[in-house]
Symmetry: C2
Subunit: 430 residues, 2 copies
Amino acid sequence: MGQADQAAAAAQERGRQQLSPIPPTVNAERLHGRLAALSHCGRTAAGGVTRLAYSDADREARALVMDWMREAGLAPSVDFAGNIIGRRAGADASRGPLLFGSHVDSVPDGGNYDGPLGTLAAIETAAVIAEQGRALRHPIEVVVWSNEEGGLFGSRAVSGQLPVRELQNVSRSGKTVADGIASIGGDPARLDEIRRDTGAIAGYLELHIEQGAILEQSHTDIGVVEGIVGLREWNVTITGAANHGGTTPMDERRDALLSAARFIEMVNRVVRSVPGHQVGTVGRIEATPGAVNAIAGLVVCSLELRDLDTAKIDSLFARIRGEARRIGESDGTTFAFADLMTGAPAPSDPRMREAIAQSADALGLSWRAMPSGAGHDAQAMATLGPMGMIFVPSVGGISHSPREYSTPEAVVNGANVLLGALLAADRELP
Amino acid sequence: MGQADQAAAAAQERGRQQLSPIPPTVNAERLHGRLAALSHCGRTAAGGVTRLAYSDADREARALVMDWMREAGLAPSVDFAGNIIGRRAGADASRGPLLFGSHVDSVPDGGNYDGPLGTLAAIETAAVIAEQGRALRHPIEVVVWSNEEGGLFGSRAVSGQLPVRELQNVSRSGKTVADGIASIGGDPARLDEIRRDTGAIAGYLELHIEQGAILEQSHTDIGVVEGIVGLREWNVTITGAANHGGTTPMDERRDALLSAARFIEMVNRVVRSVPGHQVGTVGRIEATPGAVNAIAGLVVCSLELRDLDTAKIDSLFARIRGEARRIGESDGTTFAFADLMTGAPAPSDPRMREAIAQSADALGLSWRAMPSGAGHDAQAMATLGPMGMIFVPSVGGISHSPREYSTPEAVVNGANVLLGALLAADRELP
């Protein structure tokens, strides 16, 4: 029996022992119907979607989800960053709101679950709460963040992490972010007005597909996200000497691509040499001159390291840089590292993890704690208040692809856990 | 004392013992002047040349060398492939001609020696023979081959190795080869008429810069080329599984770029594991999707192997393919090899090697036998008759660069060895 199986058995046992009442559940048929309906906005021949932020398909999807928010008794409005917010008052107007939601924009040639699942489950949760006439202590806000795939633009605007210069970035739609925000009803000049302070929200919950295969391979229903990993990215420039591949003897080469090969193998070895969930990736590479008969004089590649613990990222990088120097010394090449990006880890809140785990337990679902290796709007929200994230299995671990798929059971399980966790958070959080 | 030094000392000793008369030499001043003059055709700001075949700069250079041929008493004509041929009758009209020459076209941003040295030394050799009133047994033909850098087009037309379909290739000048040939006075429809049969030439000699650093590093004046290496080139396709670099654990990756790295390191190791001059190069690589945060699902890279012995190339490739299969099995990836190009080795003729070595000996120059790792028009001529090639040192081994340089002494040494070798070949060859 694996760890996850043990966890599942223990959870089910706990569920039985507690003899809790049957937990509330969402309307599965409505949720599946809306997932299918949303998949027509920007549908591709391969059966996925291209629903780039600020595109016609994005606007079409946003109009649909606003309709569904209204059906759920929420009054949706669009903030200055183009985020859609459907608010419902709580019993105590002095409390900060509980936010929950996700996004509807996609990568080019993406799938039907990354974003839509969390968005529609959030609307479904609000609908069930309204239909059951449940009075909550906190105001609730269902949020559809704008331009998640381009780099969490909507959520970073709200958390005050969006530098003004990024408004001039050209998004995949072809529009600048500023023009894009205006095109969906926002006002890029007034982003300061929607910024919220730390402590201004009671909490944030997001359901998302895992986009990896840990849950599937461990036969686990639900991932309780421990946090969103931090990352550091570098441009690695390896300089050797370009030369003729026919006339330069093997022992007189300073082959930048050979050094790059040794670097890539070494990164893999170093990252795997210590226990834990850290990952390291070299995904981009360019060799110059890049001809069949030419020794590469220059290689530029990327390096990305991710972990929940920044200190671990830094210590792995120190080892990698040291080993790269030795490769260069031995090959007659040089390595230079330029910082590309740094993202701080965003741990989830223990109370949110507990609320999610309890919700899964009550539904008889197995769960395991795990990091999120991908970035999410939840990481921006984690700077404002207690954050929790729920994962459901991605079949084959596939995401950002038309083949992205989660089973109907996983979809409903995730929505039900979100509903239960939200109710628990409403009870437990100040 | 190194091997080359021993060879040099032995050669000098032989030169003294033979007590031969002072060998004829070229007019060094005229040769240097013409090299400098030619370097103005297509000169770049960096001091090199961009003299692409069929370009204005190429036509300008061709007009110059035809003038110099006429000054040397040759009557230059342009054949249907655009080759310039300056012929002078021999004593015996029944003999096939002795050909010698090189090319004047360059790569983009190339240097001043690759091609011009052999071309101008050949004209200089013919001039000295004319000036000294030397009667040769064979007709001589100084040849300036068209479009060498694009792929030996002129010499392959003459040796019957130019498939008609390649006439539609677009050359670096922007013209198709057919249009380019027409633009320099050839006729692409009549290439069959200039094709020569095996045995139709008495021999072929070409002086060229080494384009490597073997002569420089061994302090040797002259390279006696053993042959032009054969080569095989492959497109190597490595297929793994593209996935998210954040969400995919290290032990669940099928990383095509990691397999490519292991492949590149292995190729280097296998090629160096046996004695000899063989070389192996991976110079081109492309990773897909090629993003910082994505595990590469597909890598396409090149593999090139060169050696004088085809059997050695084949046996190295068999080992490489076997080891690649094992890398794929261990990494969950697959390797596929597609033939890109095969070039047969072109051994030089022992009588030509002897003529060159004797010529160097007589001049008191050190020499060593060595392969040519680069391709040359001489390899096409080797299919028609006895071929010989003479190398002089390239400073720093640099070629195809504005920094390509051979010393004035090396230039004159090479031309003098060519003159002596031609006279010897005229005496020795049928």
